[in-house]
Subunit: 241 residues, 2 copies
């Protein structure tokens, strides 16, 4: 992995001006108190995951953010002809390439759901250009995967491409439920990003109008296409990135 | 919450004959080492979540299990007319009722994904009748929600029902990816359960043929209906529970 790892937590530094060591000798006492790099992004710490309850004294916040869904197309059908070990190896590779691309762009790998992932940009690391960063991360995922795929045993030519959908806007992020605690994001933005992903072909990145409006300078020549998404009454326009 | 909470970890007891205290004075030294009730099920401990790497020396296992997906129908469209606070309260209630029903039947609330949840039965708590337990949990979710919904402000009559899909069979469960660590389940079973949920109406529980075959004595009079699911070439039969 070629990812540059931060020495202190980017989230705590940005939001609290607090230098929380993540690596090296200085991090040892912190680790004794359970403060270590987050699994969702190694450049933030576990305090950031608890930012709501512990630091902000809120359980959830509303913010402008960008949500990215990516899914490994054809994984399920391939699993009918490949060994479980080979399939595990493929998924390891998929998660690793996605994680590297996302963390380079300061995204939060919030969930893995079978052969899909859900990513949030603009929390806890704040970015003025979070929508652009999400689009760049999506392209990096596709580029990395095209290279990595060639090295994986058992795959031929067009097997296993990644479909990606991105949407941005206001959403709620935090811990929902009193008895089960788990970070998640809620709102139309999340559902729309997920739906956009579901219609993306292998190798494709589909953006909503809201995303296009923010990053159009990066998308010269991209024309909208109409898609009928489940749960949406009228067809919506999506752009390829 | 009326859930009966176990004093020792059910998973460690069942699999290792190890009494790991979860509550009370005896649990204090364990908590100092980070061993505490799991967020995914308060009757198992955080060791169970690491069962693979720490105890079984494997990163994933293949097992026969039952997967349940549940989704709060109409949440997104309702969020366009209700305040964010009201919507948070609804989701808190949804997660809590689901968690209670699932934990009563020893399921693992593996993921919350926006207004949906993913649940696994038969790990780490082993159950010979895990498929039946999943069906009973699904019915308990619907029963609890029908009662709870009446008490929630801002809802009228048929607003916000829950759609549930269940499938069972062999799947892989464990940690995938080297750089990002997160427990998830992989395989056709997961995708099929998710698809079955996507076609369930509000208030409905849909079961695959495999689930029906295991619990048919509980389902007198249930007749299959044909559904075309995304990603499946031929229509499949689903039963209402």
């Amino acid at each position: 992995m070629t990812l540059h790892l931060a020495k202190i937590c980017k989230g705590c530094w940005q939001q609290l001006y607090l230098p929380v060591p993540l690596r090296g000798v200085a991090s040892v006492p912190f680790r004794a108190f359970g403060i270590r790099p987050s699994r969702m992004n190694p450049n933030i710490c576990t305090i950031c995951e608890l930012m709501f309850s512990t630091v902000m004294r809120a359980r959830k916040i509303t913010l402008d953010a960008t949500v990215l869904f990516a899914d490994l197309r054809g994984y399920t059908s391939l699993s009918q002809t490949q060994s479980p070990d080979a399939m595990s190896g493929l998924l390891d590779a998929f998660y690793d390439e996605c994680a590297s691309a996302i963390w380079e762009h300061d995204g939060l790998l919030n969930k893995t759901i079978g052969d899909a992932i859900m990513v949030i940009f603009n929390f806890p690391i704040r970015q003025d250009d979070h929508t652009l960063q999400a689009v760049l991360a999506a392209r990096a995922i596709q580029d990395r995967w095209r290279v990595r795929r060639e090295t994986l045993p058992g795959l031929t030519g067009g097997d296993l491409g990644i479909g990606i959908g991105i949407h941005c806007g206001e959403l709620s992020f935090g811990e929902f439920g009193r008895s089960h605690r788990d970070l998640t994001a809620i709102g139309t933005v999340v559902n729309t990003a997920s739906r956009a992903q579901s219609v993306a072909a292998a190798g494709e990145i589909l953006l909503t109008q809201a995303v296009y409006d923010r990053v159009s300078s990066e998308l010269v020549g991209s024309r909208p296409q109409e898609y009928s998404l489940k749960g949406f009454e009228t067809p919506i326009q999506l752009y390829a990135a």
